[in-house]
């Protein structure tokens, strides 16, 4: 994660927590950012996979039946 992306993630985190009535004081800033960075890396891996636009989500009901 480069410095720009780290800053973008922190901005995302602060804004997203704020609109949900939370802020960084609700937890440990560095630990939350480390977790978010891990999730961003997971997303980066996922977004490079080409899925057909027509493919609908698998709902829990679809999985069970």
């Amino acid at each position: 994660m480069n410095e720009l992306n780290a800053k973008a993630l922190e901005d995302l985190l602060i804004a997203s927590l704020h609109v949900q009535g939370l802020d960084l004081s609700h937890g440990d800033r560095d630990a939350i950012l480390a977790s978010l960075q891990g999730l961003a890396e997971a997303f980066a891996l996922l977004r490079t996979f080409a899925l057909p636009d027509e493919l609908a989500s698998a709902s829990i009901f679809g999985l069970a039946r």
Partner: protein
């Protein structure tokens, strides 16, 4: 004292060679003796258990037939409702919620088979855990070496069975929380197909990934408990409308005739070589020659992580607002990260899940069983935070789910079997079947048990 398995206890009780009360009293004494060292139980329900046992004995005295689990003590992960008790879910916060009005569906079904609930078991907070550690109740400890992790999040369940405190326990598995503790503690576990066993009356973690299932020291016990718990339940919206498909009587069919393959590629890398060797040993013992590549397993794990964080974060949003200091900090900070992620990430993960599930269903048209490692290492030391793999050091917690997350993400059934390749701590291997074919996974597990490749000897607590 005698430490019998479920089948032995039920036969003895049914035949009158021991009473249910003797079975339960003996079990309660053993729990009292061992729990200070293992910390598997958070709640011991002596009064309720003895009353249940006396009812079973009275029924037998009146000539009534008894259920297949008569007098068998069992315990449940403490996210499963027990009437009149707090459903802790490993947390401090949940102690302030209303006590459970009634038992969870699976508890009711096991008791309908005349098993006897004796307690609730320790777990990682809100099931967001692979270690068995818990800052509120202390770690559940691995009975094979109490300085080591039990695994999570159903650590107390696996530890209680490995130590012989109960022959049967229930846990939950969202990303590996039955299979990992089964591997670390050296017992058998079953994660059924998503939707097979009712989750009604359990505290959720990730509704689209949560499963409940049993732990035992023998495959026969695992199958007997699983059979007793099957059945439609309208109270769990994800429970499938499937008939009861009994497995215990099919175990003897074993592995012959099944099309089996060893997972390679992703499942043969990124782990301690011993973990991969355990799967290879199982494959060799089954005479397997075929290998198979599960497509896009790394992306499946990534998608599972995103869905887990998002659903978990959303579930706990109000508690994160109002009581952040009362969470286990490690859990809280990951949930806060989950709260923050964009919806587009989550939707992409769900769409990928659909693609991935379709690929795996197609894969299971060509094979009946896939073999893969369970955990990437043996049980780490309690407090350990990193793991060295191939000369590189990585954070321990996320890597523990490397091999389990891509399988539960597709909802497939898995029998987790304990394997020993030397005199060290146990390792685990996943016996993975296609959707709704728990019977095949259990047959192979039984075959491995009969041939001595998979076994769950009682831990000797030092």
């Amino acid at each position: 004292m005698d430490l019998l398995n479920c089948g032995e206890i039920a036969r003895d009780v049914a035949a009158g060679r021991r009473s249910a009360k003797e079975s339960i009293s003996s079990g309660l004494q053993y729990i009292a003796k061992l729990n200070p060292a293992v910390n598997a139980f958070t709640d011991v329900l002596s009064e309720r258990a003895l009353a249940s046992a006396e009812r079973i004995d009275r029924r037998r005295a009146h000539g009534e037939g008894l259920g297949p689990l008569a007098g068998v003590p069992f315990a449940v992960k403490n996210l499963i409702d027990v009437a009149g008790r707090p459903t802790r879910a490993g947390s401090k916060i949940n102690n302030d919620r209303a006590r459970a009005a009634r038992d969870a569906t699976l508890v009711q079904r096991l008791e309908a088979a005349d098993a006897v609930l004796v307690g609730a078991l320790n777990m990682g907070e809100y099931a967001y855990d692979f270690t068995g550690e818990n800052s509120h109740y202390g770690p559940s400890r691995n009975p094979h070496d109490t300085t080591r992790m039990s695994g999570g999040s159903s650590g107390g369940s696996a530890a209680a069975v490995a130590a012989g405190m109960v022959p049967l326990a229930l846990g939950s598995d969202t990303n590996g929380s039955i299979r990992v503790p089964a591997a670390f503690c050296g017992v058998f576990g079953l994660k059924p197909t998503f939707g097979r066993l009712s989750r009604a009356g359990s505290f959720p973690f990730v509704g689209s990934l949560d499963h409940l299932g049993p732990f035992a020291r023998t495959v026969g016990d695992l199958a007997a408990a699983y059979d007793a718990m099957q059945g439609v339940d309208v109270e769990d919206p994800a429970a499938a409308n499937r008939p009861v498909e009994k497995t215990e009587d099919t175990l003897q069919l074993g592995a012959p005739g099944l099309r089996m393959a060893l997972a390679t590629g992703y499942f043969a890398s990124g782990a301690d070589p011993d973990a991969i060797n355990a799967a290879a040993l199982v494959s060799k013992s089954l005479g397997m020659t075929k290998t198979i590549d599960i497509p896009e397993a790394a992306r499946a794990r990534a998608a599972a992580q995103i869905i887990t964080a998002a659903e978990g974060g959303a579930l706990h949003l109000e508690r994160l607002r109002s009581r952040p200091a009362d969470f286990d900090p490690i859990v809280r900070d990951r949930l806060l990260a989950g709260v923050a992620i964009p919806a587009a990430w989550v939707e992409l993960a769900h769409r990928f899940r659909r693609w991935y599930r379709d690929q795996l269903i197609a894969l299971f048209n060509t094979v009946d069983i896939v073999i893969a490692p369970t955990a990437p290492c043996r049980a780490p030391k309690i407090g350990q935070t990193t793991l060295a793999v191939n000369g590189k050091t990585a954070p321990l917690r996320p890597i523990i789910g490397r091999f389990t997350q891509p399988i539960s993400f597709a909802g497939l059934p898995v029998a987790a079997v304990p394997v020993r390749i030397d005199d060290g701590l146990p390792l685990g291997v996943q016996i993975i079947a296609g959707p709704w074919r728990e019977d095949l996974a259990l047959r192979v597990a039984f075959h491995l048990e009969q041939t001595g490749v998979a076994r769950a000897p009682l831990a000797r607590i030092k």
